[in-house]
């Protein structure tokens, strides 16, 4: 029997110890008319060999196209050691570290993770991760409303340059508690937040302004001016950032005069495979003064009975298993294993390695844009500094372009028509450090072929 170790003799003796004649008798408290005879709709069992073959065939059917997709999930080189260690059974098959004495490994990894992510973002405290970048934005919105002492407002300003799916998740998650998200347009030429439109919200009571840096288009926002403006209006600033970019970009704690109040983002670029969208992890950091408003697990360093240093979950009075209906969030399980991978990734890359990944990804995207915009009928949508993504505009319909490129095994970008119809035929493209000169040439070749 797969994964059930019992012999016939075991079953006999165990039933005798219990004092029943057969296993079925153990279900005698279930009303008989609710019992089912079997699960005929489930296929018969496959052996490990058979499922291995089936999965390999399906994986091969999906293939390994050359991808220039980003839009919130990024292909980076992942050092071999990251997942070799992360999938060790001692990390992989452990539970949430409620029994601290038997979970020091997981707890110390979380503490080291909190140390790295706070240093990267510049803010003082971090939780042990959230589900993903989208849910982290939603939790940040709820937290801002909770933590803001001077404003009772349930409204937040979320510019159109914030990842549209993050905005959707925020609405689905926080809308039920009455939170409202008002949008702010972007400037057509730069793809950055329209400061004049933003200024029209001056004087209104908002809990926070959300600023994504680099923004969804890959453009760099003037975070200093935006942060100072929001603070002058009495709003919190929620920074949404790409962790790779923080190796070279100004950390949210240094935005403007006072810095962002809450910082969140998608942790996937830090050693987590693309894997069709998950599991990833969201990160969240904030100032010490808001730590009790933060959702999720937090690990602290303390001492044991003998005075030896050790780690434990702390500030649990915020959480659902203690506070129940009054908790800061219903979150309990987070994305521990992905946070573990990210901690090992950041350790192996170090400050120089991560900066080089960031610089090189910028350089590759810049090269891609130069090559692509040399093709007739293709131009860059925006001017101004960017990180490692760019919007390209086309004369031809991009759906057809993408389809044709995909036939040749090149995924040419993410179409923006659904979320940004005003951009016309537009693609969001990304090239990270994983793309060679040859890969960029293949892109342009496929693009020329598709436009022909």
């Amino acid at each position: 029997m797969p994964f059930v170790p019992h012999t016939d003799a075991d079953v006999r003796e165990m039933l005798a110890t219990i004092g029943v004649s057969d296993i079925d008798a153990l279900f005698d408290e279930i009303p008989p008319e609710l019992r089912i005879a079997g699960l005929d709709g489930i296929p018969v069992a496959l052996s490990e060999m058979q499922i291995g073959r089936l999965m390999s065939e399906r994986a091969q059917r999906d293939g390994r196209p050359l991808s220039f997709l980003g839009a919130g999930a990024y292909e980076h080189h992942i050092p071999s050691a990251v997942w070799a260690i992360t999938t060790r059974g001692e990390f992989y098959s452990a539970y949430t570290p409620y029994q601290a004495e038997a979970s020091q490994g997981t707890l110390q990894v979380i503490y080291e993770y909190q140390s790295m992510i706070t240093s990267l973002t510049g803010l003082e405290v971090s939780n042990a991760s959230l589900y993903d970048g989208g849910s982290a934005v939603a939790e940040a919105a709820l937290m801002a409303v909770r933590a803001h002492r001077k404003s009772k407002s349930l409204r937040l300003l979320v510019p159109a340059t914030v990842n549209p799916n993050y905005r959707r998740v925020a609405v689905s998650t926080a809308g039920n508690q009455g939170l409202q998200f008002d949008t702010v347009p972007y400037v057509a030429g730069t793809g950055c937040i329209d400061r004049e439109a933003l200024a029209r919200h001056g004087g209104a009571d908002y809990a926070a302004l959300v600023i994504q840096q680099p923004n969804f288009f890959g453009q760099l926002e003037d975070v200093d001016a935006l942060t100072d403006w929001a603070h002058a209006q009495g709003m919190f600033v929620i920074a949404v950032v790409n962790p790779t970019s923080l190796a070279i970009l100004k950390p949210p704690a240094e935005w403007g005069t006072k810095g962002a109040d809450i910082c969140v983002g998608e942790g996937q670029p830090l050693g987590v495979p693309l894997s069709s969208g998950g599991p990833y992890f969201g990160f969240m950091t904030t100032r010490m003064e808001h730590v009790r408003s933060m959702p999720g697990r937090i690990v602290g360093r303390t001492v044991d009975l003998d005075g030896r240093p050790g780690f434990t979950l702390t500030l649990q009075a915020r959480e659902q298993h203690i506070r129940r209906g009054k908790a800061t969030s219903n979150i309990c399980t987070n994305q521990g294993l992905l946070m573990t991978a990210a901690t090992i990734y950041m350790t192996l890359l170090g400050p120089q390695g991560l900066a080089r990944v960031a610089e090189e990804s910028r350089a590759r995207t810049r090269a891609l844009v130069e090559l692509a915009t040399a093709v007739p009928g293709v131009r860059a949508a925006f001017t101004g500094p960017r990180f490692h993504e760019a919007v390209l505009r086309f004369d031809a319909p991009v759906a057809t372009v993408l389809e044709r490129m995909a036939v040749g095994g090149v995924l040419g970008g993410v179409a923006l028509a659904d979320d940004y119809p005003e951009l016309g035929e537009a693609l969001l493209v990304c090239a990270t450090e994983t793309k060679t000169d040859e890969d960029l040439r293949r892109y342009v070749e496929a693009l020329r072929g598709a436009l022909r």
Partner: protein, 496 residues
């Protein structure tokens, strides 16, 4: 801090300026010389990430892993968490390079293999739960709960039934239930259970009314017993226009025996990291797929995998205009879902039925042996489901040895502790869930350990109260942890 050394130094203490795992860095920048990033955007001081060799990193994190208990190394009878064996094949085949490399926004033409797995997973989950439709989107049990309650709200709102904002929750419920109801903007009404552990029907009848949005129930309940009056509960709640929410935390107990859909539930979440054996990962990732009856189907979170003449594709807001929307930036914890899919295919229809049977056999065997050894049960008249509650209230009173003390001493005997102090209404309780993947010998050894600790409690309570002794640390100062917050490492300032 005292002079005692930690079991393993912090990674930052291995760090030396200029060292690094340079094989992991990208080659030198190709055109950084022409860099155009204005200074105003630049970081001025580098982040304090460690500077260590690859070997330093590998040794450090390997040593840290060895400080953990895990299913792969220890029996983990953690009630309500279903810590069963996580088959290695599920990990290996979910991590095939093509699956790992697939971008979430890659076109369906380059994802038919993956999407076929997801479609079949949806179908299998429908079959085992008796629900009409499934969405794989939520990323944990609590996330699935959120989706479920949000759908209940959306359903009532779509009918113009806006007064329904009360969610009824039995007092024994998981803390996530009331927390979720609050997150969905609902008011929580807790109702008691009777002396036998079933929902108090009189209290329920008083609690329901025109404001009832629904009730959240776990069955078998968190008390480790099957809710026998489930049809009466369903009739009462449906009778006033409310809906029934099934918390799937304990689905393992009834897999292949009885289905939530047949019990009358309208919406359920399934903890795939429990029943379908995806790893817990030291606290995630989980996966909390949701299933619904026909009337809630339009409200399922997107995306959902659909099938048409061209093959498999994602259904989005456009296909499901009444959807409660997106709960994740992409499609939830895809890699976890692949592991659950592989596990379900390896179990097959016969193996699926055995899960509930042998989980229940193991729980009832442990219960019988612990009862014979002199332990008190919270519900001695009841059959255990896949888990049961021992209460050491008597020992706490007689010897001052508490459930916490038993839990900590078990660690020295090489067993992870059961769940302690949950459910809250049973004093000094240990919630014990062995799962079907444990052998009789392991269960016997656990019983022997419990007997030994009981003996110690009688003879030398201090021995139990001082435990653990063999772990990397002894009991930790939680008060200090919360008062003198040390949540991140900082370098010691060198004197100026």
């Amino acid at each position: 801090m005292s002079d005692l050394k930690p079991a393993e130094k912090l990674i930052f203490e291995y760090s030396r300026p200029g060292r690094g795992a340079t094989a992991q860095h990208p080659p030198a920048p190709t055109n950084a010389a022409s860099d155009d990033l204005p200074a105003a955007f630049r970081r001025r001081t580098p982040p304090r990430l460690p500077e260590v060799s690859e070997l330093d990193a590998v040794r450090h994190f390997t040593r840290l892993s060895q400080l953990n208990f895990a299913i792969d190394t220890h029996f983990y009878p953690l009630g309500s968490c279903t810590m069963k064996y996580n088959p290695k094949a599920c990990n290996q085949y979910a991590m095939l390079p093509e699956f790992l490399a697939r971008h979430p926004l890659a076109p369906a033409t380059h994802g038919q293999g993956f999407l076929e797995c997801m479609f079949e997973l949806q179908e299998m989950l429908k079959e085992v739960t008796g629900m009409r439709a499934v969405s794989l989107n939520p990323m944990a049990g609590a996330h699935g709960e959120f989706a479920g309650v949000a759908m209940i709200r959306a359903y009532h709102a779509a009918r113009g039934d806006h007064a329904r904002n009360e969610i009824i929750v039995p007092e024994a419920a998981h803390g996530t239930n009331p927390a979720t109801a609050t997150m969905c903007g609902c008011i929580v009404k807790e109702i008691p259970v009777d002396a036998q552990g079933d929902v108090d029907l009189d209290a329920l009848a008083k609690a329901v009314g025109p404001n009832t949005a629904g009730i959240m129930l776990t069955n078998p309940s968190t008390l480790g017993v099957f809710e026998r009056k489930i049809r009466e509960v369903a009739k009462l709640v449906h009778g006033v226009g409310g809906l029934l929410y099934y918390d799937g935390a304990n689905l393992n107990a009834i897999l292949g025996k009885v289905r939530p859909g047949d019990m009358g539930f309208d919406v359920i979440h399934m903890n795939l990291h429990k029943t379908f054996s995806t790893p817990h990962g030291g606290g995630g990732p989980g996966a909390g797929a949701v299933g619904v009856s026909a009337r809630l189907e339009p409200f399922l979170p997107v995306p959902i995998v659909g099938r048409d003449a061209q093959g498999y594709r994602w259904l989005s807001e456009r296909d499901r205009p009444q959807s409660i929307g997106r709960l994740s930036a992409f499609m939830g914890n895809a890699g976890v879902l692949l592991r659950a899919y592989i596990y379900m295919r390896m179990l097959g229809r016969e193996g699926m039925g055995r899960v509930g049977e042998y989980a229940t056999l193991n729980a009832n065997y442990l219960l019988a042996r612990l009862r014979a050894a002199g332990f008190d049960l919270a519900y001695p008249e009841r059959r255990a489901s896949h888990e049961f509650i021992v209460t050491v209230k008597r020992q706490a009173k007689e010897f001052n040895v508490t459930a916490m003390d038993f839990a900590k001493r078990l660690l020295d005997f090489g067993f992870h502790a059961p769940t302690t102090y949950f459910p809250l209404l049973v004093p000094e309780c240990l919630l014990i869930e062995p799962t079907e993947t444990e052998s009789r010998e392991t269960l016997d050894a656990f019983v022997e350990a419990m007997i030994a600790i009981l003996g110690e409690a009688e003879r030398d309570a201090a021995q139990v109260k001082g435990a653990p002794y063999t772990m990397p640390v002894r009991r930790l100062d939680d008060v200090r942890a919360a008062k003198q917050l040390d949540l991140a490492w900082k370098p010691v300032e060198s004197p100026a």
